[in-house]
């Protein structure tokens, strides 16, 4: 399964997300929560249109790294660039200056984020969840946004559940709505924070199928997950994180089948 080649071909055929995929660069990321060093100098390069899967034991800093990319988490040191533009800061006389909230929110509008616990808005229907952000950020009018939302829900296989409230949906359906909600922003990159960890095993497949569809559509994806099989099949690059550092990275065939680092080997032997 050569994911990169398949991805590039399909990108022309499907090309459905709309926005151009963008690259993501993380440089020297450091983050400390109290006494705990969560990120201890992470450098990550994700080329546009590629799928990167981040693996690692819990507490290794995977989620923090992902959240730092859309500035939900502020880094102590280091910085993030999405599509060549620094996130959360701007260059000012050779230094980085923090952006105001409005500018950060505008940047986040170009980065999709899918949460482990879905975090759908419970008081809005599936359709309203998907249509909210494009309207609120002034990108589309209400009618257009609802139209687009219907298309997106159809794309994740939930055309008939548009009027349902999140609590009336199964976990897998909720996560698919959440993915459609992220797609509504036409993001250049989508970040997935353990998208299947809160799901029953039988529901994991339907969510992974949607993500796989996005991968072949040519969107830049960064996925934190424990689904090794999914990583092997879809990822262009697998990154193994431990103790706030990248221990090993490379194509899945290498990292998953012939890991060089003993920590990677130990982790894989436990999860496989």
């Amino acid at each position: 399964m050569s994911a990169p080649a398949a991805g590039n071909e399909a990108a022309g055929a499907v090309g459905a997300v709309g926005a151009e995929p963008v690259s993501v660069t993380v440089t020297g990321a450091h983050k400390r929560f109290g006494a705990q060093q969560v990120l201890a100098g992470v450098d990550l390069e994700v080329p546009a249109g590629e799928v990167t899967v981040i693996l690692g034991p819990s507490g290794s800093g995977k989620s923090t790294l992902l959240r730092a990319i859309n500035h939900l988490e502020k880094l102590d040191a280091g910085h993030v660039e999405v599509g060549g533009e620094p996130v959360g800061v701007r260059r000012h006389r050779g230094r980085f200056k923090e952006l105001n909230e409005r500018a950060i929110l505008a940047q986040r509008g170009r980065i999709g984020f899918v949460f482990q616990n879905f975090n759908l808005f419970p008081h809005l229907t599936a359709l309203e969840n998907v249509a909210a952000a494009p309207v609120a950020t002034g990108r589309r009018n209400r009618a257009q946004a609802r139209e687009a939302a219907r298309d997106l829900l159809a794309r994740v296989g939930l055309a008939d559940r548009a009027g349902a409230y999140p609590r009336q949906l199964s976990g897998g359906q909720q996560q698919r709505v959440a993915i459609a909600r992220a797609l509504a922003l036409e993001p250049g990159v989508i970040l997935f924070d353990e998208p299947t960890s809160a799901l029953d095993p039988e529901l994991v497949g339907e969510v992974l199928a949607v993500i796989r569809d996005l991968a072949t559509g040519g969107t830049t994806l960064i996925v934190v997950t424990h689904e090794i099989g999914f990583a092997r099949e879809v990822a262009d690059t697998v990154v193994f994180l431990d103790g706030g550092r990248i221990v090993e990275q490379g194509p899945p065939a290498q990292v998953l089948s012939a890991p060089r680092h003993p920590r990677t080997r130990e982790f894989l032997s436990r999860v496989l």
């Binding site: 939900l72 940047q107 949460f115 008081h123 609120a136 409230y165 009336q168 922003l185």
Partner: protein, 341 residues
């Protein structure tokens, strides 16, 4: 009815409607190995003491009601005389006016205070906390009397830089009618309590909702007004209505700043007609009960509205419940007559 279709109907539906004893051999479709005397239904547990207790309570309630109606002490004739007198209704109007204005100003003030308390600015947080601490400490009656005498302390109230220029200036003596004093006093007091109610509601919204709203890049105002606050309202409404019902009755204190609400009218009429004081108090009581009931009914519908999405199915209104009960009875009756024929 063929035997086959009869077997499909649950036995408890059919049995009471069936006047004739069941067929000893119901046919090939039904297989009952234990013979004709056997009944699959479970006999429910009997609760004899529950009936005894129910009877006892009913007797007590009947006694109370009887006493309320027949005791000459209550003078129901005088009650009827006073209940809809224009002077009482005028007082009721004042009560409604003070309640409505204070409820709105109190809630708005409470939202502002709650936001200040939860803001990132330590100054706003401390100011908000101090306000709530102070206003919850001062009895409402003291605050009202203090405000009523305010115009004696300060001739003018002005907004501006201390020792510097003043932007807005009020002539206190002219502005402070007793209605203004009452509404300002009750609103100030109400805001302190409402602030905590609102803050509690906002805290009850899951952190993930804030994160999701931020991750989608929703503008801050939209995040608050469309995502966080509607969810907080689910927790705010019951607590604030509780507050509101307290407010309806605390408006009776405005009597002490010479504003004649329904209680004030009753009080002054009572001193003019001392023999009518009991029926007059009953008039006030019944009006307060009516107001509280209206608020409670409104609460049901407001809560129902904000439970959208929080419950898988929205609970039926009492009206809907009544209609389904009637429809159910009708269906049963139809089934019974159909089976008898």
């Amino acid at each position: 009815m063929s035997d086959l279709s009869r077997a499909a109907v649950p036995p408890e539906r059919l049995a009471p409607a069936d006047p004739a004893p069941p067929d000893p051999l119901p046919g090939p479709a039904v297989d009952t190995p234990a013979g004709p005397a056997h009944d699959e239904r479970v006999i429910p547990l009997r609760h004899p003491w529950r009936w005894v207790l129910t009877a006892l309570v009913l007797v007590l309630v009947a006694q109370l009601a009887h006493g309320l109606v027949t005791n000459p002490f209550f003078q129901w004739g005088r009650f009827r005389y006073w209940f809809l007198r224009p002077i009482i209704l005028h007082g009721l109007g004042v009560t409604l006016q003070v309640t409505a204005l204070s409820a709105v100003f109190g809630l708005v003030g409470g939202i502002v205070l709650a936001l200040a308390r939860m803001s990132r600015s330590p100054v706003l947080r401390v100011v908000s906390w101090t306000y709530v601490w102070l206003l919850r400490s001062v009895p409402l009656i003291v605050l009202l009397l203090f405000l009523a005498n305010f115009s004696a302390l300060y001739r003018t109230v002005s907004l501006g830089v201390p020792f510097g220029p003043h932007f807005v200036e009020f002539d206190e003596a002219r502005a402070a009618s007793s209605l203004v004093v009452a509404v300002v006093g009750i609103s100030l007091n109400e805001a302190a309590y409402a602030a905590e109610v609102v803050r509690g509601g906002l805290l009850s919204v899951d952190q993930g909702q804030h994160e999701a709203a931020a991750a989608l890049g929703l503008p801050r105002r939209y995040q608050f007004t469309r995502i966080i606050f509607p969810q907080a309202l689910r927790a705010i409404v019951p607590a604030y209505v509780n507050q509101l019902i307290g407010l309806v009755k605390s408006t009776s204190l405005v009597f002490y700043v010479s504003l004649l609400d329904v209680f004030g009218r009753v009080e002054t009429l009572g001193s003019t007609y001392p023999s009518d004081i009991v029926p007059l108090l009953l008039v006030a009581t019944v009006w307060y009960v009516v107001l509280t009931s209206v608020v409670s009914v409104a609460q049901f519908y407001v809560e129902r509205y904000f439970s959208r999405g929080a419950l898988r199915t929205v609970p039926p209104t009492p009206w809907q419940r009544l209609r389904t009960a009637v429809a159910d009875l009708r269906a049963r009756a139809r089934l019974a007559t159909g089976a008898a024929r």
